[in-house]
């Protein structure tokens, strides 16, 4: 049992309802702490479900999920909620932000729910707001924009805000679910470069899920969900 592993799945099985066909059946998956992994999967292949299991919002029918050395099955519901916000940063395809909250508040959300993330954001003796500004600036957002409600921003800007939110407080794992699919091709590469740069800067492993195979070249490892998941075999 190595703490160096960011993610370890063993004999994972999941179905939405009892009696429904098995949705995921993954004998084994391991991701090391320093990796940047690209998981490829077509639409409807169970990508989001897998992420739900990694985040601890869904519970597996069998097998176990270990994140950063912690067996999620041993945590209570609220324990998993706390673990998730303490250790994992999420970026989604779209509707990432709370539309009526100002940009800065959106970025600071994990610090509101997690003392650990708050403490990490304040690590260098500055305020968490300063850290949020630093991240946003690094991702190319600054000035007046930060006080605007999130819904005033363009889709590309919103995705960068979401990235800043995932990164704040240095979570030990970043999970991204199709974060680029709402962007056009040029912007996709720009965004990915920024994201990878920041992940590297704070040494957070990145688990990137997408149906878009062209992006795979940015990553250190590429996996196919279809190959991992026995349930999807015809």
């Amino acid at each position: 049992m190595s703490a160096a592993l960011a993610v370890r799945l063993t004999d994972l099985r999941f179905r939405w309802q009892a009696g429904a066909p098995c949705c995921l059946d993954i004998p084994s998956l391991a991701i090391a702490a320093g990796e940047r992994v690209f998981i490829y999967g077509a639409s409807g292949s169970g990508k989001s479900t897998l992420l739900g299991l990694l985040a601890g919002v869904h519970r597996p029918e069998a097998g176990y999920v270990e994140i950063l050395g912690q067996d999620l099955g041993q945590l209570s519901g609220s324990g998993r909620d706390r673990f998730r916000v303490d250790h994992i940063g999420f970026i989604f395809q779209q509707f990432n932000l709370i539309p009526y909250l100002p940009v800065l508040d959106n970025v600071l959300l994990p610090c509101r729910f997690s003392r650990r993330r708050l403490a990490e954001a304040r690590r260098d003796g500055k305020s968490e707001q300063a850290e949020a500004r630093r991240l946003l600036e690094a991702l190319g957002l600054e000035g007046q924009l930060l006080a605007q409600p999130a819904h005033r921003l363009s889709v590309g800007q919103q995705q960068r805000v979401a990235a800043a939110r995932a990164l704040i407080g240095r979570p030990e794992l970043i999970i991204a679910d199709e974060p680029t699919s709402a962007l056009d091709a040029d912007r996709q590469d720009d965004f990915l470069d920024l994201l990878l740069e920041e992940c590297a800067a704070q040494a957070s492993p990145l688990l990137f899920v997408s149906h878009d195979h062209r992006l795979a070249s940015h990553f250190t490892r590429e996996l196919s969900l279809a190959a991992l998941n026995r349930a999807s075999l015809p």
């Binding site: 909620d81 395809q93 509707f95 709370i98 509101r112 679910d177």
Partner: protein, 420 residues
């Protein structure tokens, strides 16, 4: 928790139109609920205050409620008079301390005219043992002199020295006028918030005088007795409508009542004002219950609207709640967020309703007091009202748990990416 509160507030602000209207609906419902109760209490207080000093009401045999209504509140009319001799006999009863004779039946532009004597200004009590006070002028002394209630003078714009004529009967204009015998205003009473404000007071002799050339409710044809000549006639009253009686000792009230009810020469009735009022309220209670029931229903409609609005918002907020889940909010937080919203809207509605009601009382209070004698003035929230408000608040919060529970279940099922 403070983070959650900020999110709840900003989220509510984001939907301020629908939530604002919901707050308004609850506020109106609450104002209605309390308003109905306050008017009820105000009406009862006002009625009770109008007869506070009187131990017994004497009149012709009828129902006690009717006797009280026409003698004290000047609502409706007497079917029978009582003889002056009977009144004098009762007034001499050893237990009777004072009595105020009342001769009703005439009016001035819709306001009742009360024929009485000096005892009225001496012994009449209203509110908490308060005596009538003159705002201007003096009590009537001469034959064709009148003292006006505060509201009569204010509404008709009369001043001391004005000359007015009385009409026979009460109610609508175009009644037969006693226009040959005008009265001079010699006094105006200070406001009391009782039916006294709406009355004109003249002497008993004046009532006799204006009816000298009348018979059976109409002037006798061909007979005109000029005002200057009436003093030659015997103006002592022959009949009365009613009398208010004060006793030397309250304890004797049932004895005197029995004596009056058994009076041999004429069928008389002595009514206890408190008992008669209770009887009246028993009649009115049904209407009050219906009103209260309707206001409770209105509150229920308001709260149902609240639940509907929050439920309807859940669809559009599904993403928002999923985002909150992904940044660490547990299902408990989602539950709290929605319960907070429902509770907040309910409390805001209750607060606004109270403020609105007080504002209304402040704006319309003087008008109601003048027109109806209802005192709806600014008042603190009573314990009974507090209980009602607590019941509304509890119901509102309980009702908002329904959408909260639904959101909780969805938050569990949806995970991080809601399936729409």
């Amino acid at each position: 928790m403070s983070a959650l509160l900020r999110i709840a507030l900003l989220s509510a602000w984001n939907r301020r139109l629908t939530l604002g209207l919901t707050v308004l609906a609850i506020a109106l419902a609450v104002a209605l609920l309390l308003g109905v109760e306050r008017s009820r209490v105000a009406a009862r207080t006002s009625f009770a205050q109008s007869v506070s000093g009187t131990d017994l009401i004497l009149g012709a045999r009828t129902s006690p409620v009717q006797l009280m209504l026409y003698s004290v509140f000047r609502i409706g009319g007497a079917t029978h008079d009582i003889g002056w001799d009977s009144y004098e006999a009762i007034a001499r009863h050893p237990d009777v301390a004072w009595s105020i004779p009342l001769a009703l039946g005439d009016s001035h532009r819709g306001f009742p005219v009360v024929g009485t004597n000096a005892a009225y200004f001496e012994h009449f009590r209203y509110g908490r043992e308060r005596k009538l006070a003159l705002a201007q002028g003096r009590p009537f002394a001469g034959l064709f002199e009148t003292v006006l209630g505060a509201e009569v003078a204010r509404r008709l714009g009369y001043r001391l020295g004005d000359r007015i004529t009385l009409s026979h009967g009460s109610g609508a204009p175009n009644l037969a006028e006693h226009d040959d015998k005008p009265f001079t205003v010699v006094g105006i009473l200070a406001p009391t918030g009782t039916p006294v404000d709406h009355s004109l007071h003249v002497s008993l002799e004046a009532i006799t005088a204006i009816h000298l050339d009348w018979q059976g409710g109409a002037p006798i044809p061909g007979v005109r007795i000029a005002a200057a000549h009436v003093e030659k006639f015997d103006l002592r009253p022959k009949t009365l409508t009613a009398a208010l009686i004060g006793l030397k000792q309250r304890a004797a009230v049932f004895k005197v009542q029995r004596d009056i009810n058994r009076y041999a020469d004429e069928p008389l009735l002595a009514a206890l004002p408190g008992v008669a009022l209770d009887e009246l309220w028993r009649v009115v209670a049904l209407v009050e219950q219906v009103l209260l029931g309707i206001s409770a229903l209105v509150v229920a409609v308001g709260l149902a609207g609240l639940v509907a609005v929050i439920l309807a918002s859940l669809g559009e907020r599904r993403r928002e709640l999923a985002v909150l889940r992904s940044v660490g909010a547990g299902p408990r937080h989602i539950l709290a967020l929605l319960a907070l919203e429902g509770g907040g809207v309910t409390l805001a509605g209750i607060g606004l309703g109270l403020v609105g009601l007080e504002l209304l009382a402040w704006l319309a209070g003087p008008l109601l007091e003048a027109r109806l004698g209802l005192t709806l003035a600014l008042q603190g929230v009573t314990l009974a009202e507090l209980q009602r408000l607590a019941a509304v608040a509890a119901t509102g919060m309980a009702a908002s748990l329904l959408p909260a529970a639904l959101a909780y279940r969805r938050a569990l099922g949806d995970g991080l990416t809601p399936r729409l």
